[in-house]
């Protein structure tokens, strides 16, 4: 089983993302609502991949990523963003993110997109 952690402050999107990812029978999915919870889940649940919303109140996606790396957690990270602009994407690459998934995502192919980065 592959553990996928999905981090987003929007509850509706969390729900849809979970349902979409679960279309892949090999995926085990957990969703959290903030950067702080994501840091906790990353240590305690040790996911195989983390999907991080970029714009979140409190701690944003890039901050969560650098905190993870500071704590020595090397789990691959994909950013999920509604601002999929090139300059931002290039910035994410230097932040050691594996890739970017644009919002709105296609629910049917989301699992396949994630699998491509594993």
């Amino acid at each position: 089983m592959t553990r996928v952690l999905y981090v987003d402050d929007e509850p509706d999107i969390r729900e849809i993302a979970e349902m979409s990812l679960l279309l892949d029978p090999e995926f085990e999915v957990r969703t959290v609502a903030s950067g702080a919870e994501a840091l906790g889940a990353a240590t305690e649940w040790s996911p195989d991949i983390i999907l991080l919303d970029v714009m979140m109140p409190g701690m944003d996606g890039p901050t969560v990523l650098s905190r993870l790396r500071e704590e020595g957690i090397a789990t691959p990270v994909l950013f999920v963003t509604a601002r999929a602009q090139r300059s931002e994407i290039q910035g994410f690459a230097t932040l050691d993110a594996k890739g970017v998934i644009a919002k709105p995502f296609d629910p049917v192919s989301l699992a396949a997109q994630v699998r491509a980065f594993l």
Partner: protein, 705 residues
């Protein structure tokens, strides 16, 4: 051409010349008149003198007569004094009269007669005097008494009287002619005065007119200068007047307001003084010299620079520079503070970006829910429910496309669409577009056929944007194709460009829509749009992407119905060395052939197997051999005017173990023993060539190992 002012000026000059000439004429005339007057006066004087002399002559004769009578009657000698004096006077007076009287014959004759009478009289008197002195007093008295002397005297008196009459008659004549002369002078004077007055009046009028005109021109120039001054001083934009090399000659008050430097401080400094990061002076001057005048290329040249204020703070500016072409070139730079505009642009971008984010977040939920429902992943739906979900889902996707397109347009318009330009081959681009649109084509029951370029063409571009461009054309073509139709995607060389044609068999583009097809929200008609689900922004974005790649996007009717959209992108010519360097680890193969098509086909056939360096001349081949090692060389024989066989010994000598293949159209080049293999173009395929070459290269490597 003569203008009115020129004519008037010439006239005024002529008149001014006429005045001294007229004056000179007048002077001559007056001198003549004065001479006449002087002569007249002399005549009058003469006449008066003549009459006086005649009177005197008479008196003198009377004196002589009286003296003679007195002496004869009394015998007193003292009577001889008036006689003698009279005689002397008569001689002198006659001398004077004769001198003057010569002019008029009547007077001259009179005087002659008078002289004759006078002589007779004097002879008679002298005779009597002589008788007296001789003592013949009686004879003398007898002679006196006889009255001869008196008769002579009367004759003299009568003659004098006649002469006097003549002289008297002459005077009015003289005076008359004098009056006539005076009248003539008067008339001439009046005439001249009149003429002068007229001339002066004309000169005054012409000069006045010229002066008035000049005053008007001066006033107009003043007005223009004042207007320009007000415009320059009142304009919000800063204005710099630059000399030929860009040194500041003058500024307007806005410059002082923008930069904080006063005019006195700036004049004489170079314009780069106002820049936060000044370029090299010579670069700036060279750039300035390349600026055309406003008349030549619109509003001159525009640029942006970061300005530096006196207090060291910086701000963004837009500058328009125009050349003033009169005598020594100078320039006007109009500087606008765009801080506010940039801020507003930034706010707008931020706003659009935020709004799009805020829209995308709920759309993610809606689209996700509908997508999951429509896919049947969460269980089967009733027929009507499934249809409704499908409608909601497709419209949600359309809304998402619309937002993406609006963002792209916004980026294009604000100049913020960035292009990550890299050298890329056209074939993978075609492959990606086909893959991305296969499902969409299938959904529309349309067949998508692709024909990649015949040889590996390279363009410089942003792979994602070019894919967006071609995908846009392909999806348009699919949308407008009839069911069971075919959309063709063909890449080929067109002049110096790669042309990618997207051909459909749709209904074509309505004539009235053609002129605005690339406009924003351009759609043939509303109903069409709803049927096809487009945003009306796709072609506008597509053309912008093509143009930003130095290319074009055009369309044309297709023979037999339908439309072809064509993207032309400039071909980048990779040098052979670049191509070889791009594939490390592959064996290097030199291909010498003067047929460029053959070079391309062979290079393409070796792709992934060998790094082919393609050269078209023996000279290039020699340079390539000198530059690097090759595992094999494929050489054409007939390369008019050169012969490829010439190269063979050089290849053998320079690179040991090199395999040499002849690939030629000549059936029997008689090269056995000199080369490793001979392949004739018409008998061996390109695949044979690749196979043979790779086998030989493998042999060479094994031998080396």
């Amino acid at each position: 051409m003569l203008k009115g002012t020129d004519i008037r000026r010439g006239l005024a000059g002529l008149m001014l010349l006429a005045i001294p000439l007229g004056l000179l004429g007048f002077l001559m005339l007056m001198r003549g008149e004065f001479r006449d007057v002087r002569e007249l006066r002399a005549l009058v004087d003469q006449s008066v003198e003549a009459r006086a002399e005649l009177a005197e002559l008479l008196v003198e004769h009377l004196n002589v007569e009286t003296g003679q009578r007195g002496y004869v009657l009394t015998g007193k000698r003292e009577f001889l004094t008036p006689y003698q004096e009279g005689k002397a006077g008569i001689a002198a007076t006659f001398a004077s009269l004769e001198d003057e009287g010569r002019r008029e014959p009547a007077i001259a004759q009179g005087i002659a007669r008078l002289k004759q009478l006078s002589q007779r009289k004097l002879a008679f008197v002298d005779g009597n005097i002589a008788r007296m002195q001789a003592g013949d007093t009686a004879g003398a008295r007898q002679a006196v008494a006889e009255g001869e002397g008196k008769r002579l005297m009367d004759a003299i008196r009568a003659e004098v009287g006649r002469l006097d009459d003549i002289e008297r008659a002459r005077l009015p004549q003289i005076i008359n002619s004098r009056d006539r002369s005076r009248e003539r002078i008067e008339q001439t004077t009046y005439l001249l005065l009149g003429a002068f007055s007229l001339l002066l009046a004309l000169v005054a009028i012409v000069t006045g007119r010229a002066i008035r005109e000049r005053q008007r021109e001066f006033a107009r120039a003043n007005m223009l200068a004042e207007r320009n001054r007000v415009i320059l001083n009142g304009t919000v934009d800063g204005l710099l007047l630059l000399d030929h090399d860009g040194f500041i000659q003058g500024v307007n008050p806005s410059i002082e307001r923008l930069f904080g430097f006063d005019e006195a401080h700036l004049v004489g400094k170079h314009n780069t003084y106002l820049m936060a990061t000044p370029p090299k002076l010579e670069d700036s001057v060279a750039w300035l010299h390349s600026v055309g005048s406003a008349g030549v290329s619109g509003a001159g040249r525009q640029m942006e620079f970061t300005g530096r204020r006196r207090d060291g703070t910086i701000f963004e500016t837009d500058v328009a520079i125009s050349r003033i072409e009169s005598g020594e070139n100078s320039y006007v730079a109009i500087i606008r503070d765009v801080t506010d505009r940039k801020r507003i642009e930034g706010m707008k971008t931020e706003f659009v970006s935020t709004v799009s984010h805020e829209l995308r977040t709920p759309l993610t939920s809606i689209g996700g829910s509908l997508g999951l429902l429509a896919s049947g992943a969460v269980g089967p739906l009733g027929e009507k429910a499934a249809r409704l979900v499908q409608i909601a889902h497709s419209n949600c996707e359309r809304l998402i496309r619309l937002i993406n397109d609006i963002l792209d347009i916004e980026k294009i318009e604000s100049g913020k669409m960035h292009f990550d330009m890299r050298r890329m081959r056209v074939t993978p681009l075609i492959d990606r577009v086909v893959a991305a649109n296969a499902q969409f084509a299938a959904n529309h029951g349309v067949t998508l056929k692709a024909q990649p370029p015949a040889w590996p063409m390279v363009v410089e571009g942003d792979a994602d944007r070019l894919e967006q461009l071609v995908t846009n054309l392909v999806s348009n073509a699919i949308k407008h194709s009839p069911r069971d139709g075919t959309v063709e995607l063909i890449a080929h060389q067109h002049g110096q460009s790669v042309r990618i044609d997207v051909c459909d068999r749709g209904g074509g583009i309505p004539q009235e829509f053609r002129s605005r097809i690339f406009g924003k929200f351009a759609m043939a008609d509303g109903s069409d749009n709803r049927a096809r689900g487009g945003t009306g922004l796709g072609l506008s974005i597509a053309r912008e992407i093509a143009q930003r790649h130095g290319g074009t996007l055009t369309f044309a009717d297709r023979a037999g119905g339908g439309t072809t959209f064509s993207v032309d992108l400039p071909i980048i010519c990779e040098t052979a060395a670049e191509r070889a360097a791009a594939k490390p680890g592959l064996p290097a193969v030199l291909h010498v052939d003067d047929d460029h098509d053959c070079l391309d086909v062979v290079a393409s056939a070796f792709e992934g197997k060998a790094a082919v360096v393609s050269v078209a001349t023996l000279e290039e081949a020699r340079r390539a051999i000198a530059a690097r090692r090759f595992a094999a060389a494929i050489v054409d024989v007939s390369m008019a005017p050169e012969n490829g066989l010439e190269l063979v010994p050089e290849l053998r000598a320079s690179q040991a173990g090199l395999k040499v293949l002849l690939f030629t159209a000549i059936d029997d080049p008689h090269a056995e023993g000199r080369v490793d293999a001979v392949l004739v173009k018409s008998r061996s395929s390109i695949e044979d060539l690749v196979r043979t070459t790779m086998r030989m290269v493998g042999d060479a490597e094994r031998n080396a190992a």
